[in-house]
Symmetry: C2
Subunit: 370 residues, 2 copies
């Protein structure tokens, strides 16, 4: 579900200086994408054992636990975080089998790594841990539709992916609509009609997401989602990323005035994300009705080595997230200029004010299929 996936210097296994987070996916915060994603995954590990131990309920009571335990990671990108998450899940499930005294039954694990068809699956496959204790498969396609057979998954995981909408809401690109988002690239500080269009798109996407998962996950199976969102009570107009996204809008506007970007191209560009609050998420779960929210927990704010981010780090992070989207819409030739401009604008304000002073948060949800 990451919009930017190809990592530089993949042969050497190192990330290049220029794109330290190319495979990350947070909308603007470097600390909230890969680095913090790792921190979050480590944090979730502790929870995983507890939740799997207490909540996972797939045939254990009828003493017919599955011989093949199927796990899906939705929006997996290219790794390595997806591999850590999967490893934690498997450990927790094996522990559960042991705790229940099912020592003679050793389930085999099949792990489905899902992301958009445009994800770099070649790279994902090449970086699969060599001594993994599961059978790996890649599944291309949007998780807003069915991508697995009925009742074929025991565990679904997704980390920092469901804040991406399935598409930009159509109305915001429609010149004849009151929701036309002229002069902006996001709904923050925009008209109510624009906000509503984004909100509706998000609701439709959540509906599609839960409908598909309800069909795919076995009864008693678990879904653990780690979600980039906003605090309860924050108006969507003030929602996360608005300062970073507004800055992108402002840079693009400068480029329109300079003539580097056409006004039409600018007006037709909108960022397809929506950050929901824990409350909005809970409502979506209830509307669907097939899952019970066993836990919804706001995650502690993560600092990277205790320090604020430099302007360059903030810029790199935004570029890693939105670079591909911008390239697809405007063409590769504007990307360098745009982010040079962006860097200057970030330097003008204190970068940490963009990276930290917003109202975004991450929360974790544990859902059980009824």
């Amino acid at each position: 579900m990451r919009l930017e996936r190809k990592m530089e210097a993949k042969e050497s296994g190192k990330l290049s200086e220029a794109y330290p987070m190319k495979s990350g996916d947070g909308p603007y915060s470097y600390a909230k994408t890969s680095v913090s994603q790792k921190v979050v995954i480590d944090f979730t590990k502790q929870l995983m054992n507890k939740e799997v131990g207490e909540k996972l309920d797939i045939g254990f009571s009828s003493s017919s636990p599955p011989e093949v335990f199927s796990i899906a990671d939705l929006g997996c990108s290219v790794g390595p975080n997806t591999f850590s998450a999967v490893e934690n899940i498997i450990e927790a499930v094996e522990l559960k089998f042991e705790t229940l005294g099912l020592t003679s039954i050793k389930p085999e694990f099949q792990v489905f790594f899902n992301d958009h068809t445009s994800n770099d699956f070649n790279m994902l496959f090449k970086s699969l841990p060599p001594n993994r204790r599961y059978y790996a498969a890649g599944v291309p396609g949007s998780f807003y539709g069915r991508i697995f057979p009925e009742a074929s998954l025991h565990f679904v995981h997704s980390s920092f992916a469901v804040h991406w909408l399935s598409q930009v809401p159509e109305e915001v690109m429609d010149k004849s609509s009151p929701a036309w988002n002229k002069g902006r690239v996001y709904f923050s500080n925009s008209r109510d009609e624009v906000i509503k269009a984004y909100k509706d798109q998000h609701q439709n996407d959540m509906e599609a997401f839960f409908k598909a998962r309800a069909e795919e996950v076995v009864c008693g199976g678990l879904m653990i989602l780690i979600i980039l969102g906003i605090a309860d009570g924050i108006h969507p107009s003030e929602s996360g990323g608005h300062r970073g996204f507004d800055l992108i809008g402002s840079c693009l506007m400068d480029m329109v005035e300079k003539g580097t970007v056409s006004e039409e191209k600018f007006d037709s560009f909108n960022i397809p994300t929506y950050l929901m609050s824990p409350h909005e998420f809970e409502e979506a779960v209830k509307r669907n009705g097939s899952f019970t929210a066993e836990r919804i927990q706001v995650l502690p704010h993560v600092k990277v080595n205790g320090a604020s981010l430099t302007a360059q780090q903030v810029t790199n992070c935004v570029r890693s997230t939105l670079g591909e989207l911008i390239k697809q819409h405007f063409g590769e030739e504007i990307v360098d200029e745009l982010f040079d401009l962006y860097l200057k604008k970030v330097e003008e304000v204190h970068p940490s004010s963009i990276a930290e002073a917003d109202k975004t948060l991450s929360f974790l949800a544990v859902l059980k299929r009824n």
Copy 2:
């Protein structure tokens, strides 16, 4: 299992003139790779309905047929032939359900496309038929080992893939071994020790192949393999490809003499294929013991539009098959020169004598898991 996968001009969906068969995999015969592969798949379609109708036996009698029917195509390359094969299998299985009057039960299909990790899965995923009636997954890894959970497959298909060995036999690269294959790139017309090393490698590979499949395929499940082989009674030394492969060896030798290729590099290069006879295949099935050969049938010789191949077509075909292997071993810089030389040598002999006058054939095997 194809050694060359990336197709030129993939954006346009067309193959370039220079590499018409880049994703093909026959050892040298263009007619026997993609074009004939399509012909063979169409031919097998007729057989498919019959074999699935009569032989597939997965819970139908106990009136608990599977809700999810799992198909794997081993050595799938990048398509489109793999998609045609899968479509034929699904049609045959649906027909079987209908024939048995199981009209209320409509199984869902999950298809696993397998090939080496170095296969271009990105391209495969992008070219998946948009209106497919199955859930698609890619599975990276060698089919000479376990790549699926136990008893998780109902149908295995593989077309023109199992003639690739898992590796070059070690002895033929060992200077201290009597099987050292100095001055040659293949075992044809080579010493008995070299032939034996290839034969042993092939036997080990077949053993590993059937052992893994026996664990992965459910009882009563089917395996249909289309195999590039040689006629019964042909000595391996005379086996298919020897003329084309010998010509590669001869070109490389010329380049050693010219100084373009080092003798050491040349001596350490060997082509990892082995063409087996239907009889050898049957013996391997029996040695394993988990499958019953329901049918082993030599396929009719395929002509492409009734015509012989030009020298250029023969060369392109060999390049599409071995180009990547040669590039990996010798470096990209020698590939053009090598195949220019190859073309000249093919022009010296009548090209059809290489493409047609050998003793290779294709055969189809239908195996049922006991």
